[in-house]
């Protein structure tokens, strides 16, 4: 198919999709309408379970099964990336050279690294109270660790990054999620039921299972993203063709 034909086909198809989509949207409730039945129910359910952040309640309690699937996707993607980027037979590793970095950058990175890790931890811990949670905090933790790379170089990063441990931590956290689900079954309730004490509203331990799953997700996301980024950094910096 020539480029011209492709563009013509695409233009035609795009036009049709655009027209029908726009016409369909015209039938939607207007933007900002007050009618959200599922949302109302979710809010009530979250408050009944003493979880202040309703989004966390939906993610880690009411629709926790989705999150189980989502964490499995993360786990599978990390595994897949590791296996796709595994060293081939005709590749070598090359020790990277220390990099030259502006002194201001180095100082800034060194200062910021602890701040980032603290912020990430804070986001994970407050997941059921304020915006944030395991996922957001995990990403911040993982990205924060790579400040070591920005500030110094790859060699420094490798020293603060126990990859083998994180690899296992990622897997264990993924497994812990399923195990938490099984706890409900063993307790005679449904899979992933919230069988823990609910605690006082608006405290760090409120919400029963929510803070636990939240922490598990935080560990999984942080270690998973670090392993993921490590694979790419290895490729970009270390691995060379033989």
């Amino acid at each position: 198919m020539s480029r011209r034909v492709r563009l013509l086909l695409l233009a035609g198809a795009g036009l049709v999709i655009a027209v029908v989509f726009a016409a369909g949207c015209a039938e939607l409730p207007p933007f900002g309408s007050p009618d959200h039945p599922y949302g109302e129910r979710a809010v009530a359910a979250a408050l009944a379970r003493h979880t202040a952040n309703v989004v966390s309640s939906v993610n880690f309690d009411q629709r926790a099964f989705d999150t189980l699937g989502e964490e499995s996707i993360l786990f599978a993607s990390v595994l897949g990336t590791v296996i796709v980027l595994r060293p081939a037979r005709d590749e070598d590793r090359q020790e990277p050279e220390p990099a030259r970095v502006l002194p201001s950058t180095r100082l800034f990175g060194a200062l910021l690294l602890p701040v980032t890790l603290l912020t990430g931890g804070y986001l994970v811990a407050h997941g059921q109270l304020s915006p944030g949670g395991g996922f957001q905090g995990g990403v911040v933790l993982a990205t924060g660790l790579h400040l070591a790379y920005v500030a110094a170089d790859y060699l420094a990063l490798r020293q603060v990054r126990p990859l083998a441990v994180l690899d296992v931590a990622d897997a264990l956290a993924a497994g812990a999620f399923s195990v938490l689900g099984l706890v409900g079954l063993v307790a005679g309730a449904a899979f992933l039921s919230n069988t823990l004490p609910l605690g006082t509203f608006n405290t760090l331990s409120s919400g029963g299972l929510v803070p636990v799953i939240n922490a598990v997700v935080g560990v999984e996301v942080a270690s998973g993203v670090i392993v993921l980024l490590a694979q790419f950094l290895d490729q970009a910096v270390e691995v060379v063709d033989r």
Binding site: P96, E97, P98, A99, R100, T105, F108, G109, L112, V115, T116, T119, L123, S130, P131, G132, Q136, V140, T143, G144, H146, L147, Y149, V150, A151, D153, Y154, V237
Partner: protein, 85 residues
């Protein structure tokens, strides 16, 4: 309608808009100027929104961005400078 939201809207038009415009043109390192400006302006917008909506918990957004945006920009400068390591 309050002054904080008004200021946020002004920043969106006056700072973020130009930043996006710059980020959409030219070679990478010139685009980076736009990205950097957006990285500076956006946390301020988030703080103003937090105040304007009277939701102090939105300030976390600015905090996270203040931590992540410089890291992102530094990574960009590192790769675009074409050096090794």
């Amino acid at each position: 309608m309050n002054a904080w939201l008004l200021a946020a809207a002004a920043l969106l038009v006056g700072t973020i808009g130009p930043a996006i415009a710059v980020a959409l043109h030219g070679p990478s390192h010139r685009r980076l100027v736009g990205a950097d400006l957006a990285g500076t302006g956006m946390p301020v917008v988030f703080l103003l929104l937090a105040q304007g909506y009277s939701r102090t918990s939105y300030q976390d957004l600015a905090l996270i961005l203040a931590v992540l945006a410089p890291a992102g920009t530094l990574v960009f400068t590192r790769f675009l400078a074409g050096e090794r390591g």
